[in-house]
C-alpha cells in the first residue's frame, strides 16, 4: 500500500497511474516515448484488455508475449486484467464478455492464469466487469464464483465499484447481500467513475461522466470493509478541466483516509 502512495512534490496530486496496456502494444517509437515520460514521474500499473483469461480455448501467445514485454519493462507491483473472455472460436469480440458462474469457468481462468504466470512474474489482479446478461450454464452464486476464481487462480481482486453498482441495478440484485458474501479480503485495488443511463433505463459504464452520488456512497461502503492499495478514477472520455478530475481523486483519497486505508 504505502509503496503506491508517494505523491510527487512538484506535480499534481496523483499517486499512481493505470495505463491501458493495449495502447502500448505494437506501438511506434513516439508512443513508447510517452510511456518513458510517464514512468519518470509515476508508478504505472498496466491494465490489459484482451488476454481473454476466461476463454475455454486458452490464451493467444502473440498477445501474451507483447503484454509480458510491457509488464517486464514497467515492472509494476501488480498488473490487472478482466474476469471475462474476449475470444472464442478464433474470433475476437472486441469487448469484454461475462463468464458463466460455473466450476468449468473457474477451471478455465485458473488454467489460463497459470499459463500467463509462466511469462509474467508480477502479481495479477482481476477486475469484475459489467454484464448485459447472466450467461447460460451459470450454477453458482456470483459471490461464490468470485471466491472460487480468486482462490483457484490465486489472484487479487480489482473491485470496480461502478461496475458493481451497475450490475446490481441492471439485474436487480442486492448490493448489501453481495458485500456480505463476496471475498472482500481479496480486494487489492478499486476502480470508480460515473455511469450513464440508456434510453431503456439500463445503466452504462462509459467512463465519460463525473462520479455519481450512488458511486460515492458505494465507495464509502466498500472502503469500510476492504483494504485496497489504491483507487483509480477511470475517466477516459468527455474529459472535464483537470481540477475537476483531481477533485474526484482527492475525494476518493480523503474517503479512504477516513477509514485508515491509505497514507
Amino acid at each position: 500500500m504505502n509503496s503506491l502512495v508517494e505523491p510527487n512534490s512538484d506535480g499534481p496530486k496523483v499517486d499512481f497511474l493505470e495505463i491501458t496496456a493495449d495502447h502500448y502494444l505494437d506501438a511506434p517509437r513516439w508512443k513508447l516515448a510517452e510511456l518513458d515520460a510517464l514512468r519518470e514521474r509515476f508508478i504505472l500499473i498496466p491494465h490489459a484488455l484482451d488476454l481473454s483469461l476466461g476463454s475455454a480455448e486458452g490464451i493467444k501467445d502473440a498477445y501474451l508475449d507483447k503484454l509480458a514485454a510491457l509488464v517486464e519493462l514497467l515492472d509494476p507491483p501488480f498488473w490487472s486484467e478482466h474476469l471475462a473472455f474476449t475470444k472464442a472460436g478464433s474470433r475476437e469480440l472486441g469487448h469484454l464478455a461475462p463468464l458463466p458462474f460455473s466450476i468449468e469457468a473457474v477451471d478455465a481462468v485458473a488454467r489460463n492464469v497459470e499459463f500467463v504466470r509462466r511469462s509474467i512474474r508480477q502479481p495479477l489482479i482481476l477486475e469484475n466487469i459489467t454484464c448485459d446478461l447472466i450467461m447460460p450454464g451459470s450454477h453458482l452464486p456470483e459471490t461464490v464464483f468470485l471466491e472460487e476464481v480468486f482462490s483457484a487462480a490465486d489472484c487479487g481482486w480489482l473491485l470496480d465499484v461502478t461496475n458493481l453498482h451497475i450490475n446490481s441495478r441492471n439485474h436487480d440484485r442486492s448490493i448489501s447481500d453481495f458485500l456480505d458474501e463476496a471475498p472482500l479480503e481479496r480486494v487489492v485495488q478499486l476502480h470508480y467513475v460515473g455511469f450513464s443511463c440508456s434510453k431503456d433505463g439500463r445503466l452504462i459504464d462509459n467512463h465519460g461522466v463525473a462520479v455519481n452520488e450512488e458511486v460515492w456512497q458505494l465507495m464509502e461502503r466498500v472502503l469500510k470493509r476492504t483494504s485496497p492499495k489504491g483507487a483509480i478514477l477511470e475517466r477516459d472520455q468527455n474529459l472535464p478541466d483537470f481540477p475537476e478530475i483531481i477533485g474526484e481523486v482527492e475525494k476518493a483519497r480523503n474517503l479512504g483516509k477516513e477509514f485508515g486505508r491509505w497514507g
Partner: protein, 186 residues
Amino acid sequence: MGLTEIQEQFVHLALDSSFRERLFSQNPTEENLFNSLEAEIAITARSLISKRMGIVANQLPLTRKLLGDEFGRKFREYAQIGKEPQGVNRHRLDSIRFARHLVREIRAGKLPRPLGTLLVHETSPLHMWMKRKRFVIRFCRYDPGALQQLVRTTGSVDGVSGCLTFVIWRECRSGQGYRWSTFPVG
C-alpha cells in the same frame, strides 16, 4: 453444454446479425443456448457496434463532423457487410476499412468528393502507426488544411475549391505523435 460451446455461440450471436436472426426466428431449440436471452443478446450486439463506431469517430473526427448523423448510418451499413477487425490494431484497421467503404460511396456519387481528401488525411497517421512509418507523402485534390478549417467552422465542404496539394506527414522527434505540412502544387 460446455464452456466452449457457450462462448462460441455467444460470439457468433453477438457478431453475426444473420445468424442471430435465423436462430431467434426459430422456435426455441436445444441448439440455441441463449433461447431466453434474445433481448440481452441484441443489446450486446448493438453495444459492440456502438463501441466500434465511437472509437472510429474519435479517429476520424472531421469525417464524423462532416457526415453528422449520416456517419452512424454509414458505419452500421459498413459493419453489416464486413467481418469485424482483429488484433491489437483492430480499431485502426476498422477506421481504415470504414474509410475505404466511404471512398466507394464517394466514387458512386453518394458522398462529396472533398471527403476523399479528408479520409486520406485522417487515416494517414493510422497507416503510419500500423506500418511503423516515420513519414509519408500524400497527394491530395484539396488542401487538407483549408478543408479542416471549413469543416470545423461550418460542418460542410460546400464551396471548397480544388487545390492540388502535397502533404508530408512525419513522426515528431519530441514524442508528441504525428505532424503534417502542406505544399500547394501550382
